[in-house]
Symmetry: C3
Subunit: 212 residues, 3 copies
């Protein structure tokens, strides 16, 4: 699954391997789905319910089956969905894995003083900082040593829209470890695993280029 926001600022890419499903029988194809509707339908399932998806090739409708409940949803023609932008090859020097909770803490703090947020790595100090600067107030969260895993040290700093980053992190599963890759005035790429490792999520956020 792949989705891009209307302003081309953020992109999500989700891969689920066949092993992530209880049973899987499909031939290659591309389906357009109304996300709001689909999300509400799937939320009807309890934690232990199996959700069955079936594409009816005669009516071109997606049938979702959840313990006696049967939803029949019209699909969207993929041709009519705005296609995602082609991504340039990115060489992102800084890499680090931190907990979603640490990331979220920095976002909550930044949200008090600004509408954008800086992510910075300082190679010499082995430090990752999340910071924000308001008109009169500043905030900075320093993460070091035990907070950081799999660090690829580099000097790098980029600034991002706080609203976008908030939405991206809010919708990550609690307790997940997120691998960040970033550079200086380059996109931020956040990776994490779902479905016991049989699913992989990549979320990309364009930087706010600061003009001094």
């Amino acid at each position: 699954m792949r989705a891009v926001d209307p302003a081309n600022v953020a992109m999500d890419d989700i891969e689920l391997e066949a092993a992530a499903f209880e049973s899987y029988d499909a031939s290659p194809g591309l389906l357009g789905v109304n996300l709001d509707r689909f999300s509400k339908v799937v939320k009807m399932a309890n934690k232990t319910d199996l959700v069955q998806l079936w594409f009816d090739t005669s009516t071109f409708k997606l049938v979702v089956y959840i313990d006696g409940l049967e939803f029949t949803m019209a699909c969207l023609d993929p041709q009519t969905i705005r296609s995602e932008p082609t991504l340039p090859e990115l060489d992102l020097p800084a890499g680090v894995t931190i907990s979603r909770e640490a990331l979220n803490r920095g976002i909550k703090a930044a949200d008090m003083v600004s509408d954008h947020i800086g992510i910075e790595m300082v190679e010499d100090e082995g430090r990752l900082s999340i910071d924000a600067e308001g008109d009169t107030d500043n905030v900075r969260l320093d993460l070091q040593d035990d907070d950081l895993q799999s660090v690829t040290l580099a000097d790098a700093r980029s600034v991002f829209s706080l609203d976008y980053l908030k939405d991206l992190v809010r919708t990550m599963p609690r307790g997940v470890d997120v691998s960040l890759r970033f550079g200086s005035d380059f996109p931020l790429i956040m990776d994490y695993e779902i479905a016991d490792g049989d699913g992989h999520v990549t979320r990309m956020l364009a930087p706010r280029i600061q003009t001094d």
Copy 2:
């Protein structure tokens, strides 16, 4: 207690036997009460508090007493309250008892695609269905066998306002078993017990007559 909504679409009828009270001493009479106010007052009681109702015949006020708290409420003249419509004798062929939760699940699903909801029994299949039809999407919940108790099989199908049915089911006690009676383009009657069987609730909902 009996109440009807302004549009005459739904009617509630609640009977509490004397045994449902800790102590009961009353002569026959009819009292008009502001429901919103009365409901808020009673909610001041904790789960284990006794609520004492006393009608002061000199002031024509209802006194509610809850552990040191004393509310004095003006009553409404029952003559000024719109009287409920007289109900025609209804011969409703289909009957079944299901859990409030099953009913609620069908309602939640229907709510995604439509503002009305169909309730259908198919005699041959021993099946109760809750369904809804939207412009592009449909939903259907089939209940059979273990989900159904005390079934009186008949072919019957009626359609109801989803908003009304939502409100009626939302205010039923969790975990209660609800007995449904309905026909084809006839009202739906829902019965259940409260107060350990010393109280009985009947809720009636007029059908939406569909003009094809």
Copy 3:
């Protein structure tokens, strides 16, 4: 800390002794702080986190440090903050200590019928009452004996704005015992302790003078 509302109806006064802090090193001074901002910053701390406050005398900023998070907040010139009114010497004859919960129960009940609330002590009966009078409905909560501690009996009755009293009691710690002092058409003074007795809060509310 001291704060007064714009209409001069309520005043809060909070004293924290040095013993209320893990460590304390300060010289006398007066600091103006944006309450909304300060409150959000401090809420970033978990229950067991230590919050460190440091005033940077070179930048005139307040630095708040919470487990790796560093907030730098501009201070307000105390001269520019509206100064609190000088309080007349008050001789409040009635005194009693009750639980926040009992006070809150009276407020919730009063809120159903009115936008002001009476607090009354009747010396003869050893009774404290919280009451409210609406257009058609009344409510009264009588507190006696076990509900009352440290009573100084006197005949006294004052009426207060319910909205103000609601806000004051809502922000008291759950389970705290509140000492009330009041008279007839005099302010209400509410005292309670925080920080295991190393902090003391005084909240004062002006009466609504009733013109008959």
